[in-house]
Amino acid sequence: MGTAKKIMITFCLLILIGVAAAFYLWNKPHQNVANAAAVKTNAVSLYKVFKSDSIAANKKFTQQVIEVSGTVNRVSKNQQNQTVVLISTNTNGAYINCTLEQDSKNIQPGQLINIKGICNGIGQGDADLGIKGDVYLVRCYLDQ
């Protein structure tokens, strides 16, 4: 095989690899939250750590898959018909605010629950109005 032919084949292979890599990246799926390893905590300590040291809490939890245990305070639907579960903390009016990716009809207030999701940090609330910020979890799944 001549050198020119070898160079041509290598060049074509490189282009193919490049196209395949670009195709993979473009169609790369979102993180599989349901099967991901999670940092385990409970609603009371999660809220407490965000309130007492938000920098440390952001480092440890934000954009991480976490699994939170606690008591359901309220279940509702958002404007896109996703289930939103509020888990009680020990602060009145402040919750772990979980938006579920799967549809779930059997969650009741008062129920003990384990929810796994991606933590987005603590909302700012409104200190003047006394509205407390929730800690948000998105793309959540019930951990049975």
Binding site: L25, K28, Q31, Q80, G121
Partner: protein
């Protein structure tokens, strides 16, 4: 039975009359970029919004990382390269609804509104104004609006290589059900 129904209705009305501020921590804001190459949509359903029914003051705040895209790569580029969400994690709006007293919060209906105020994202604050509506239905209050922002106004730079895929003006759709009151 009639007395009971009357009492429930009266209680609901009293709740609305006495409550002056309504809020949600799970409002929805979506944005759309439409070009001939590709349409892009992202949704954020963790929007906090407070509506003062007396003064017309209205505010929103959301995490930029709360926007969810269909494609993971788009979400990565949006956060890391365009909105730089580690540096500017939140977007906020503080403004007022003009002539709030024209809205009868006790009567079902769709009330057109004009909102104006300061929109802050990517570290830049600009004055914006937009038409929208407040819908009252059986005591539930929903605020909605659609408006456009130019990426250049917020110093959001799109690299030349993907310039054809992302519109220079983004349409933003707000839809908030104010399910909490105080």
């Amino acid at each position: 039975m009639k007395k009971l129904l009357f009492s429930i209705t009266l209680l609901n009305c009293c709740n609305i009359v006495f409550a002056q501020k309504f809020y949600t921590k799970n409002g929805s804001i979506s944005f759309f970029s439409t070009t001939y190459v590709e349409n892009i949509q992202a949704d954020n359903n963790q929007v906090m919004s407070v509506l003062n029914a007396t003064t017309g003051e209205l505010q929103f705040s959301l995490f930029i990382k709360g926007f969810h895209f269909k494609k993971a790569l788009m979400e990565e580029h949006f956060n890391e390269n365009y909105l730089e969400s580690d540096q500017y994690p939140k977007a906020t709006f503080k403004g007022t609804i003009a002539d709030i007293n024209k809205i009868n919060f006790l009567k079902d209906g769709v009330y057109p509104i004009l909102v104006s105020g300061d929109l802050t994202m990517h570290g830049i604050t600009n004055k914006i104004s937009s038409k929208g509506s407040i819908t009252i239905k059986e005591g539930a209050i929903t605020g909605s609006s659609v408006f456009s922002v130019a990426l250049a106004d917020y110093k959001i730079v799109i690299p030349a290589i993907v310039e054809t895929k992302i519109s220079k003006t983004i349409e933003i759709k707000v839809n908030c059900l104010y399910d909490q009151k105080m």
